[in-house]
């Protein structure tokens, strides 16, 4: 079973550049219809298949993404 992960996107920092979308190997991210206070459309995680690989966070120019991943011990 794949390692489970998830991310939190600080949508007020997100500028909707979609570089995270491009970088996600799970194709789990998408530009949503939500608009933040600065007027940018923001990205969201829409699939439940995140592995916590941190790719999206690495390429995010606005440091908007925090990544969480289950510990090895927790993996079944």
């Amino acid at each position: 079973m794949a390692i489970k992960g998830t991310i939190i996107i600080d949508t007020e920092l997100c500028k909707g550049c979609e570089l995270c979308v491009l970088a996600c190997p799970q194709k789990g991210l998408v530009l949503s219809d939500k608009i933040n206070l600065k007027g940018y459309r923001v990205v969201e995680l829409y699939m439940d298949n995140c592995t916590g690989c941190v790719n999206c966070a690495l390429v995010c120019p606005d440091s908007a993404i925090t990544v969480y991943r289950e510990k090895k011990a927790q993996a079944v």
């Binding site: 992960g5 550049c17 979609e18 570089l19 120019p61």
Partner: protein, 266 residues
């Protein structure tokens, strides 16, 4: 979503390192400067050297780098960051010193300072952000703009005969005996970012050895100046920038002797 994972124990990537101030970047969506700032400051955090680092910001889009990087910093005149960094390191050799400059800053107006800083082998890290354009002033031709590239001052495309060729200053600098570690990296993919991070880490560690200048070029994007979307700019780096500015080590310390040697094929 996997709510149970959201706890400090499971956090594998913190978007708020103590080495960033947390102030939102003023950069355009998708701009590489944000990634480079972040990676540099993550390395400073990981090495535990925040209290010892002094940075120098350029004139260019990253002129406000000190708003974001939570370390002591000085803002230099256009092109002079390496002269400022030289002096800081000379009077405070116990500190880690880095300069951060764009292509116009480092490879046009500041070329003399750049070459002589490396030639003296100043024990600093020079970060060179090559986005092949003058971002800050609105997309004019840079010394690294590609042949045929349309900019606001090369509206018909850069033409070698009248505007010169794109300058590979990193290769040029690697020839100097003062250069200890020279590499070219990028920020267009997660793996490129990982490699850049490793290179910054090497550079700070080498700075302790007092062996010479560490120079890292980062091929970056300027979606606004290039007049394309951030996603298109990633593709453009891959297709157009990298053939001209190939990634990898150019000069590295020999693992046995510690003396810097040119990497083959470069």
């Amino acid at each position: 979503m996997e709510q149970f994972l959201i706890n400090p124990d499971c956090m594998v990537y913190d978007n708020h390192p103590v080495t960033l101030t947390g102030e939102p970047y003023h950069y355009c969506p998708g701009c590489g400067h944000g990634v480079i700032h972040k990676v540099l400051m993550e390395v400073v955090r990981d090495l535990g050297i925040q209290e010892e680092v002094i940075g120098v910001a350029p004139v260019g889009c990253s002129v406000f780098a000190y708003h974001y990087m939570n370390v002591d910093m000085q803002e230099a005149a256009h092109g002079r960051a390496s002269a400022v960094a030289t002096a800081i390191k000379r009077v405070r050799p116990q500190n880690y010193v880095f300069s951060y400059q764009g292509d116009g800053d480092l490879a046009a107006i500041g070329t003399a300072e750049t070459i002589h800083t490396v030639n003296r082998g100043e024990n600093i890290l020079m970060v060179f952000v090559n986005n092949a354009i003058y971002g800050m002033t609105g997309g004019q031709m840079a010394p690294t703009s590609l042949l045929g590239m349309k900019t606001s001052t090369s509206p018909y495309g850069r033409d070698a005969a009248s505007m010169g060729n794109p300058i590979k200053i990193t290769e040029l600098l690697a020839q100097l005996p003062g250069a200890y570690y020279v590499a070219r990296h990028a920020v267009h993919t997660p793996n490129a970012v990982r490699k850049l991070s490793k290179a910054f880490k090497n550079a700070f560690e080498y700075q302790k050895l007092n062996r010479g200048t560490c120079f890292i070029e980062v091929v970056s994007n300027c979606p606004s100046g290039w007049k394309m979307s951030p996603v298109q700019s990633i593709d453009w780096i891959e297709k157009n920038m990298l053939p001209m500015f190939p990634l990898g080590d150019i000069k590295v310390p020999d693992p046995k002797t510690g003396n810097p040697v040119m990497v083959k094929n470069n």
